[in-house]
């Protein structure tokens, strides 16, 4: 199963290394990871996507929590949340396919960022499924290059308060 986990950490040197070391050492696979500052500059938020069953997820959250620099770990498993990533996709485009492609891009609410003689570069934000669906749809035209960011996510409605954490 795919899980999106949000981790609030001290914005300190070496924290990313601690987290990636932990995943490597325990044999957990990171599907995607993003780090950014939060509204409070001393705190960063990491959004980590992991695949695995209940056991893996439980271990991932507990092990993350155990790190001294980790303030709060939230698994979005049981909550409503918004998840986005961004993709840049360069697609083959000829005179004859131009109309169709531009229509498709419109339907998926993607944005054209660049057009050259035989290609179009599209920017698209959305959840992974939406981006995957778009990529699949335009595949027949020939994809020249793609580049995707990792996932960022926030819970809907409620705010995750930075409160006391419990660990060992």
């Amino acid at each position: 199963m795919r899980h999106t986990v949000s981790v609030l950490v001290e914005n300190k040197f070496g924290v990313l290394a601690r987290i990636s070391t932990l995943f490597a050492a325990r044999g957990f696979n990171i599907d995607s990871l993003s780090v950014s500052e939060t509204e409070e500059p001393a705190i960063s938020r990491m959004t980590i996507v992991v695949k695995g069953g209940a056991y893996i997820l439980e271990q991932v959250t507990k092990q993350l929590n155990k790190l001294v620099d980790v303030i709060k770990v939230t698994d979005f498993k049981d909550t409503e949340y918004v998840e986005r990533s961004l993709a840049l996709i360069k697609i083959n485009m000829t005179k004859s396919t131009q109309n169709e492609l531009i229509k498709l891009i419109g339907i998926f609410r993607a944005r054209i960022e660049d057009i050259s003689q035989n290609s179009v570069t599209v920017e698209m934000t959305g959840n992974e499924n939406k981006i995957n669906a778009f990529v699949k749809t335009v595949m027949p035209y020939g994809i020249k290059e793609t580049c995707r960011t990792s996932v960022v996510a926030l819970g809907r409605g409620h705010t995750i308060k930075i409160k006391e954490k419990r660990n060992g």
Binding site: A17, R18, D69, I71, R166, G168
Partner: protein, 523 residues
């Protein structure tokens, strides 16, 4: 040394190493302390902050290298942070589940000058260990225990770390609950009492392994279901509901699915439980256990006149009344020590459990003596392991530290040889420590008379440091030599030539279930 000091005193041990090679040399020591949750603070030197990252002389990425083997580590880049960081290091090392913390200090920070402000109290918002157990969970656990017929305590190092031995004794007596311990918890429960089962697992006692497999409730306290304890996990304690009390949430349901987890400090949780645990006699259960104890007690050939290694440890145990601190190396001698040394109290048996680091014992013994100058400290060493850190004798001699060493010299990396004998068709490969080029390639018929001269000569080696060395080759000389060792107020090494091909039993082979315990060779 810092590790031995910490394990034997309960206070954090401190070690200092220089940058680069000094720092890389302490990695094994840190890993051993981390695996066994030993509170330690390691301080390493680092190159100046302005040259970090330039491959400067004796530079190593110390925080990078030690990250996976420490509870936490710090690189201090500003002298103003130094005092607070040191305080934090001790705080983290000694609270929650203890562990080693490393502080890497660049030379310019070491020499920097600032006003000394040492914080009174440490508050780290991202680090708050849980000490109190959840009362609902505690109630559930107590109900299960009260309704059980065949409960077993399975106690580990966490019991010693939280000084919970009294609570275990109290509850076990009140409710007739037998107790088995891990290697690290030798001494946490009074040995040879009617409720004591001895050690669990691969080289644990027959009765402990039987009891766990037959139990209807396992109460694990500060133990982490190490594979050496559980054997084949899916066959472990199949009939039992499992209660697990541990301060570290990651330890829970990591290996074995736990029915009732209680996260918290062992002593605090047990105290709360003990009030509602019913006084109860479990006569049938104890009778069954007594049967197992009688069926296969720990045994070796006591009646022949061969010099069995177990005999040496039994005598050490008798002569010291189980009140001396024992530090072991790693191998067969370690397991025999755990089986035959009857440590009366916690913190008397020091051994590298999780990492199983040969070379641990001798420095640990020296550290223990620093921390306990009035106690007898004896290192029980293997002839292989001892060679890994025997140079530390310089520290002992220079500081007048009288640590006694009993080498159980079996001319082999005995533990490895035993596996080669039992599981690899007696093909002894690179396990004989006397083997020379001229020896037959597949020699598996060692004998003291025919084999080449053993190196080093431990007696001469000890003498070269100004210590005393005594060789013992005969069973009848063991007790006099041990007495001499105990009377001496000096560093002394006994090179005891024990039976070469003695094996440790009982044994649960790797990957086998605890039910498949082998009590003797050939049945």
């Amino acid at each position: 040394m810092a590790d031995g000091y910490a394990r034997s005193t309960g206070k954090p041990g401190v070690c200092i190493a220089t940058s680069g090679p000094g720092a890389t040399n302490i990695v094994t020591g840190l890993a051993a302390a981390y695996m066994d949750s030993v509170p330690m603070v390691a301080i390493t030197g680092q190159v100046a902050t302005n040259v970090i990252g330039q491959d400067a002389f004796q530079e190593a990425d110390t925080t990078g290298i030690t990250r996976p083997v420490t509870k936490h580590n710090f690189l201090v880049k500003d002298v103003k942070d130094l005092a607070r960081t040191i305080k934090e290091a001790f705080y983290i090392a000694t609270t929650g589940r203890p562990g080693p913390v490393l502080v890497d200090i660049p030379i310019d920070v070491q020499r920097g000058i600032c006003e000394f402000i040492y914080p009174e109290k440490i508050e780290i918002r991202s680090y708050k260990p849980t000490y109190e157990g959840h009362s609902g969970q505690i109630k559930k656990a107590v109900d299960i225990i009260n309704n059980s017929e065949r409960p077993v305590f399975y106690i580990g190092a966490g019991v010693i770390a939280s000084n919970a031995e009294k609570e275990i004794i109290e509850i076990s007596k009140k409710a007739d609950i037998p107790v088995t311990n891990t290697l690290l918890a030798v001494g946490a429960y009074p040995p040879d009492t009617n409720l004591s089962l001895g050690m669990l697992g691969m080289h644990g006692t027959f009765c402990a392994n039987k009891a766990v497999q037959a139990a209807d409730v396992i109460i694990a306290v500060g133990a982490r279901f190490d594979d050496r304890c559980t054997g084949k996990v899916c066959d472990f304690a199949k009939k039992a509901e499992i209660i697990h009390i541990d301060i570290d949430p990651t330890a829970i349901s990591k290996v074995v699915d736990v029915d009732i987890p209680v996260v918290g400090d062992a002593k605090t949780v047990l105290k709360e439980m003990s009030a509602t645990i019913e006084k109860k006699e479990r006569k049938d259960w104890i009778k069954t256990i007594d049967g197992w104890k009688a069926e296969h007690p720990l045994s070796y050939d006591r009646n022949d006149d061969k010099l069995h290694p177990q005999y040496v440890i039994e005598k050490i145990s008798e002569l010291t009344k189980g009140e001396a601190i024992i530090a072991t190396e790693v191998g067969q001698h370690q397991m025999w020590s755990a089986q035959y040394y009857k440590a009366k109290y916690p913190r008397l048996f020091l051994s590298s459990g999780g990492l199983g680091a040969m070379g641990f014992g001798y420095p640990a013994g020296i550290g223990a003596k620093f921390g306990n100058p009035d106690k007898e400290v004896i290192v029980i060493a293997g002839d292989g392991s001892f060679q890994m850190n025997m140079q530390e004798m310089a520290v002992a001699i220079l500081n007048d530290i009288d640590v006694k060493v009993a080498i159980l010299n079996n001319q082999y990396l005995g533990n490895v040889r035993q596996w080669q004998e039992m599981f690899y068709g007696k093909r002894y490969s690179h396990s004989c420590l006397a083997k020379r080029k001229k020896c037959p390639k597949w020699c598996n018929t060692p004998s003291r008379d025919k084999c080449p001269v053993y190196v080093p000569d431990f007696v001469k080696w000890a003498e070269s440091y100004g210590a005393l060395g005594i060789r013992v080759t005969d069973k009848k000389d063991v007790v006099p030599a041990l007495k001499k060792m105990l009377e001496a107020k000096a560093s002394i090494v006994l090179d005891i030539w024990v039976e070469i091909e003695e094996n440790i039993f009982p044994m649960v082979p790797v990957g086998a279930s605890l039910d498949d315990i082998i009590t003797r060779m050939n049945g």
